[in-house]
C-alpha cells in the first residue's frame, strides 16, 4: 500500500480500526488525505468505498477477512458486485492460522462467499512478495476484487520483483505422478510435500493457484491430463473453496480422481498456527497422505 500511495494517485485506502494489522502506516504517512478511517463499522466502509469509485478513485477497503466478507456480504453484493464498482476488498487474518483468537475470527468460508458473486475476482497469494505484487496488480485491474491473506509469518520464497498476472497459475515443481494445486500459504506446504513425496519416489507437480476466480483451467487441465490425479490444498472449507472450483471444472470437462486438503465442515479453535494446521490436516504431511491416497485411485 505504501508503494501504491507513491505510484497511483487514484488509490484510496479505508480501514475499520485495524491500521497496524493491515500495515497501512506507510500509506497514511505518504497520503493522509487519501486514507479514510471508518471505525469499527465495516458495512459503512463497503458503502463508502462504492461511493468513492465515482470520481475515479480506486478504494482498497481493508480489515480482517471475517469482517470484510461474511459480516458485510450483502453490502458487497449490492453496492459493489451488482453495482459493478471498482472496489478492492483486501483482508488479512483469513483462515485458521490467525491462531489464538479462535473461531469467531477464523473465517474459512470467505473464498466461497466471494467467488459466488458474479464478476468478483478472488486472489489468495502465498507469501509476502506475492501479496505485494498482487496488491499492486489489482489496482490496475478494473472491477471488484477480493484479496485474502493470512496472519502468520510464512517463508518468503517467490521473487521480490515478480509480476503478478491475475488468473495465471504458476508452476513451481514439475512432476508426472500427481498434481498438487495449492493456494495461499498452503503453497509452501505443498512444496515441502513434493520434496517428501520425491523421497518416496513420487514425482509431484505443484502449481500455485493464487487466483481462485477466474481459475486457470488450462493450466489445471494440462497438468491433470499428464498426472491423472489431483490434490487441492487450501486454508478454507472444502465447501466453496479452491477444491470445489477445481472439482466443478474437472467433473464437467475431464473427470479425474481428486482429494481435498482443507477444513471439512468444521469451525476452528484457539491454538498456535502450527498446532491448528496439524490438527485440521492442513500441512505438508496431510498433502503427502492425500497424494498417496489419490494415486491409488487412478
Amino acid at each position: 500500500m505504501e508503494y501504491l500511495s507513491q505510484h497511483n494517485p487514484k488509490v484510496v485506502a479505508l480501514c475499520a480500526d485495524l491500521i497496524g494489522s493491515l500495515k497501512l502506516e506507510g500509506f497514511i504517512k505518504n497520503s493522509p488525505e487519501r486514507f479514510f478511517q471508518t471505525g469499527i463499522a465495516e458495512a459503512n466502509m463497503i458503502g463508502i468505498s462504492a461511493g468513492l469509485t465515482l470520481g475515479g478513485f480506486i478504494p482498497f477497503a481493508t480489515t480482517f477477512a471475517n469482517f470484510g466478507t461474511g459480516r458485510v456480504y450483502d453490502q458487497i453484493r449490492q453496492s459493489v458486485a451488482y453495482s459493478g464498482k471498482n472496489v478492492k476488498i483486501c483482508c488479512s487474518h483469513a483462515g485458521l492460522t490467525l491462531g489464538e483468537d479462535g473461531a469467531t475470527h477464523q473465517i474459512l468460508e470467505d473464498i466461497g462467499l466471494m467467488k459466488m458473486l458474479p464478476g468478483m475476482v478472488v486472489i489468495n497469494p502465498c507469501d509476502y512478495n506475492q501479496t505485494k505484487a498482487a496488491t499492486i496488480a489489482i489496482a490496475d485491474y478494473e472491477g471488484p476484487v477480493y484479496l485474502r491473506f493470512g496472519r502468520p509469518v510464512v517463508p518468503v520464497f517467490t521473487p521480490e520483483d515478480q509480476k503478478f498476472e491475475i488468473g495465471k497459475a504458476l508452476h513451481l515443481v514439475e512432476g508426472k505422478d500427481v498434481t498438487i494445486l495449492a493456494t495461499g500459504h498452503l503453497v509452501w506446504e505443498a512444496i515441502q510435500a513434493a520434496e517428501a513425496l520425491l523421497e518416496k519416489g513420487i514425482n509431484a507437480e505443484v502449481i500455485n493457484i493464487h487466483t481462485i476466480k477466474p481459475l486457470d483451467v488450462q493450466a489445471i487441465l494440462a497438468s491433470v491430463k499428464k498426472t491423472g490425479c489431483v490434490v487441492t490444498a487450501e486454508e478454507h472449507q472444502y465447501n466453496g473453496g479452491l477444491g470445489d472450483s477445481v472439482a466443478q471444472y474437472l467433473a464437467m470437462n475431464h473427470p479425474t480422481p481428486m482429494e481435498f486438503v482443507g477444513v471439512n465442515d468444521s469451525f476452528g479453535e484457539s491454538g498456535k498456527p502450527a498446532e491448528l494446521m496439524e490438527k485440521y490436516g492442513l500441512n505438508a504431511n496431510a498433502i503427502v497422505e492425500k497424494a498417496i491416497k489419490v494415486m491409488a485411485r487412478k
Binding site: G39, A41, N44, G47, I48, G51, L54, G55, Q75, S79
Partner: protein, 285 residues
Amino acid sequence: MQTQEIQKISSQVRRDILRMVHACQSGHPGGSLGCTDLLVDLYFSTMNLKTDAAGKVVFDMDGTNEDLFFLSNGHISPLIYSVLARRGYFATSELASFRKINTRLQGHPTPHEHLEGIRIASGSLGQGLSVAIGAAQAKKLNGDKSTVYCLMGDGEQNEGQVWEAAMYAPHHKVDNLIAFIDENGQQIDGPTEKVMSNRDLQAKYEAFGWNVMRMDGNNAEDIQNTLIKAKAALGNGSPIMIIMKTEMGAGVDFMMYSHKWHGVAPNDQQLQDALAQLEETLGDY
C-alpha cells in the same frame, strides 16, 4: 423554477408511477407518490446537472462537477424512473417496460443494466447513505464543489448501517452532503411507531453532529425554501439532514393515510379513479 411548474411536472410523474405499477401489477406506489414533490424539485430545479450545448442532460457514471442524487430506499423505483425519463435521461416510452422481462427498469434500481441516471443499486435497505458519503468525499478529493443528495425512508432507519454512516459523516466533516428522511410514518408491517419506533430522529441526528432541518415534503414551496436554506448551510463542517414529513400515497385520496399502498398495485378501476385526480400535464408515455 416556479413551484407551479414543479407541481405540474409532479402531477405527470404521479400518473406515470400509477400507470407503471398498474401495468405490471407490481411495485411500490405509496412511497413513490409521497416523495414525488421532492424528486421533481431536485431534478428540475435544485440540482445542477450536466447538460450538452443544447441543454439536454448527459449521463456519465463519475458525475464529476455535477450534483448527484442517491436513492437509498430503492423500492420507490417508479418515481426515480419517471423523473429521470421526464428529465430526459432516457425515453419516456421505456417506462412501459418497468419490472418486465429484459427491462433496464428493474424492480429496484441498478446500474447493472446501464440505465442512464442510476449510479448504484439499492433495494436492500440501509446502504445508500454510506454510498452518498463516499461520493461526497470523492468530490472533495477532486476539488469538485458540487453537492451530493441522498434519500432514505423512515422505516429504513431501523437498519444499523444507517447509524454507522450517521456517525461517520460528521466525524469526517462531510459538509457537501444533503440527506433526506422520508418521514411518512409507515412501513410494511404498519406504522413505524408500532413496528420499531424511531422516537426523535431530529434529536438523534443532532446528537451525531448533523445540521437537521424539517420540511413538509408534499409542499413544493416549503421544499424549495428549505433547500435554499440547506444549500446556504453547506461547507460549514456538518452534513445536513432534512427530515421531511410526507403522506404515503400523496395525490391520490384513497391511497393516503394508510400503509396499505406500500407495495400494492391498483386494479383497473382504482387506476381510473386515481388518474382522475391527477392532471395529465406533459402527455402520458
